[in-house]
């Protein structure tokens, strides 16, 4: 056993990278759920983003363009969900699950000719002086651009929900769609915009995996991260900053687990691999005192004419 081999600075820096796809997907889903819609299709939208972003980046040579395409593709897929749930009044749980199935299949078809290709690399930010600072440098200033975008997105969503009229309307629609409708808000339109935003964010998260974190394209490469993102939103009790905390906790446990293994600590691996999930359940129990958090209309469909 050699715990001194673990470098905490590098550990924190790499768990930030590990958490970023989760951040993107979860913050998008948070907005969707705030509007009262439960979209379980995150995994499907992520993987579509992963393949679309990868393909675009390879063809154009620009990772940034890839991210734009990924956001577009994620949003495009979410339109299907929006049509089903907002116009056709279909059940949201079933529609979301179907979306995941569809997305996984479609992404595999789209990505057939991209297996085994290396994407163009995204440059890391390299700020002179700042990036070279000890401890703080690698943690705060040594990452790629998209990691900061994810953090800014969290801040932006927090600010918009908390301080702006848009946020107020969003929350009103999510809490009580009938009352919101009576006040003259376009419930369906607002929800569709939220769904599209969620799709775009999931797409970005997927592309972060295929372009930066891994980077490669293979079928099914999101490997369940979309599901964890869903869990994360509930874990965060629909609060943006808690999403950040939760994502780092989730990413952190995995990275720490691997670190302990590499350091030769005799740990039962399977049981440690369970631990993020068990810890989430534990945190849920602890946080359960706070019952005001879930949007009241979550998962219920709205139909205006009667």
């Amino acid at each position: 056993m050699d715990l001194s081999a673990i470098n905490p600075v590098l550990l924190i820096a790499s768990l930030m990278v590990a958490a970023t796809p989760l951040l993107f997907a979860a913050i998008g889903e948070l907005v969707v759920e705030k509007s009262g819609v439960l979209n379980l299709g995150v995994e499907g939208m992520m993987i579509i983003g992963a393949v679309a972003g990868f393909a675009t980046a390879v063809e154009s040579g620009s990772p940034l363009l890839g991210f734009v395409a990924a956001a577009g593709a994620g949003a495009a897929l979410s339109i299907l969900f929006a049509i089903l749930t907002q116009y056709a009044q279909a059940n949201q749980v079933a529609s979301g699950l179907s979306l995941t199935l569809f997305g996984l299949g479609l992404s595999a078809l789209m990505g057939q000719s991209y297996v085994g290709i290396k994407p163009p690399q995204m440059q890391k930010l390299d700020i002179p002086l700042l990036s070279d600072l000890p401890v703080i440098g690698p943690i705060l200033f040594g990452h790629d651009l998209m990691l900061y975008v994810a953090l800014m997105l969290i801040a932006a969503v927090w600010a918009v929900i908390k301080f702006t009229r848009i946020g107020l309307v969003l929350r009103a629609v999510g809490e009580n769609h009938d009352a919101a409708h009576a006040l003259g808000y376009k419930v369906v339109r607002i929800r569709i915009i939220a769904i599209l935003f969620g799709g775009a964010c999931a797409g970005l998260g997927g592309a972060y995996i295929s372009l930066i974190r891994v980077p490669q394209w293979t079928e099914g490469m999101t490997a369940g991260i979309g599901w964890i993102a869903l869990a994360l939103v509930v874990f965060a009790s629909w609060k943006p900053w808690r999403v950040l905390l939760g994502a780092y906790l989730f990413g952190g446990v995995t990275v720490v687990q691997l670190n302990l293994q590499a350091a030769g600590v005799a740990i039962p691996v399977e049981y440690l691999a369970m631990s993020p999930y068990l810890i989430t359940i534990l945190v849920l129990v602890i946080l359960s005192a706070d019952k005001s958090s879930a949007p009241a209309a979550l998962g219920r469909n709205f139909h205006a004419a009667r």
């Binding site: 057939q112 297996v115 290396k118 891994v214 490669q216 490997a223 990275v255 691997l258 005799a266």
Partner: protein
């Protein structure tokens, strides 16, 4: 048991049909556990299938089904291929063992080939590759090239196949570099790019400057490239896109020669059951081009190792070798028998850490 009779008679009918119509193409089926686009295990089996098509052209018809879950789905898919007239069926995952045996009992005229298993029958042969030979070459390069003397190893599941690879790599790294140390991380997955990337990063952060992987994705390669000054080896496929650095060589699963030979045997009517465990010599285990990043003398040593393994003058597990607990396993000059190797469930002396149970 009317249905069994029906099935057998259907099979018999097909058996007769194929022998009666000699011009009829030989039908070869492949059952895959992953998608053909996984870039690793299944991808290489499908390359083998394509080689069969290329070799025999019109004389052969191949069919495949991908993403077949181990268990009842596999049994159904194998049966379906047999019903539809396949003459030879390759089932390419360990978990297909019992389903293959079950189906084979119902179709005595169809030949089955099961990869990596240990159960044979009159019409079921097994085949596997001695990947540990490739690991010996890797170990030689790794031991020579590591500067930190720490080699990181990403294992999938603690099963004999993987443990054998770790032991072989370690023995040969140690041989050229007595100070070498292995850090082993079990990912508990065959394929999860994000987790593999994490595992590689962790190993690199803890000082490893060589990463060996027994998982299928190129994620560890990319992580090594990002870190710089780390070398890796391609797994299952060549992963040449990551050469010349970090990828300095690779172990390639090359099933093509075997698949062609077995298809030929069915065509000639010379097919017999058996257990094939081929290595570098028969071309089932390919060693990818050793890149120029490897110093000439190391490359030479690696190629010499490869040649010795290929012509059989050297066995990768040659004594004296002790088990991890210090007890003797192989005496001086003694060579490991295949039975022990097939079920290997212990580390050799010098490797630290326990095999998870």
């Amino acid at each position: 048991m009317k249905l069994t009779k029906l099935m057998t008679s259907a099979a018999v009918a097909f058996g007769l049909a194929t022998s009666a119509l000699a011009d009829d193409p030989t039908k070869v089926g492949f059952v895959y556990v992953g998608p053909v686009g996984d870039g690793g295990w299944t991808y290489e089996h499908d390359q083998g299938r394509k080689a069969v098509v290329e070799e025999f052209g019109d004389k052969v018809e191949t069919v495949y089904v991908e993403n077949v879950a181990e268990g009842p789905d596999a049994e159904r898919v194998i049966t379906q291929m047999a019903l539809q007239g396949a003459d030879l069926i390759f089932t390419t995952s360990f978990g297909y063992m019992d389903p293959t045996i079950n189906v084979a009992a119902k179709f005595p005229n169809v030949r089955f080939e099961h990869a990596t298993g240990y159960k044979q029958a009159e019409n079921v042969a097994t085949y596997s590759a001695r990947f540990y030979e490739g690991r010996a070459v890797q170990g030689t390069i790794a031991g020579n090239m590591t500067k930190s003397n720490i080699v990181g190893y990403i294992g999938s599941y603690p099963i004999p196949e993987v443990i054998r690879g770790i032991n072989s790599a370690y023995i040969h790294a140690k041989k050229v570099n007595p100070d070498v140390e292995f850090k082993i991380v079990w990912a508990f997955t065959w394929f999860d790019p994000a987790k593999e990337a994490d595992a590689a990063k962790v190993l690199i952060e803890q000082g490893a400057d060589v990463i060996l992987q027994h998982t299928d994705s190129t994620a560890p390669q990319a992580a090594a490239q990002a870190a710089g000054n780390v070398i890796t080896f391609g797994q299952a496929s060549d992963m040449a896109e990551y050469g010349p650095l970090p990828r300095v060589s690779s172990i390639i699963d090359d099933w093509a020669p075997y698949y062609i030979a077995r298809t030929q045997a069915v065509m000639d009517g010379t097919w017999t059951s058996g257990n094939t465990w081929d290595g570098i010599g028969a071309g089932m285990v390919g060693i990818g081009e050793i890149s120029d990043a490897v110093p000439a003398d190391v490359k030479e040593a690696a190629l010499a190792m490869k040649a010795a393994l290929a012509d059989g003058s050297y066995h990768a597990f040659t004594g004296p070798i002790n088990k991890q607990d210090g007890s003797a396993w192989l005496a001086d000059g003694e060579v490991a028998d295949d039975g022990t190797l097939a079920g290997m469930n212990f580390f050799v002396e010098g490797i630290e850490g326990d095999i998870p149970q």
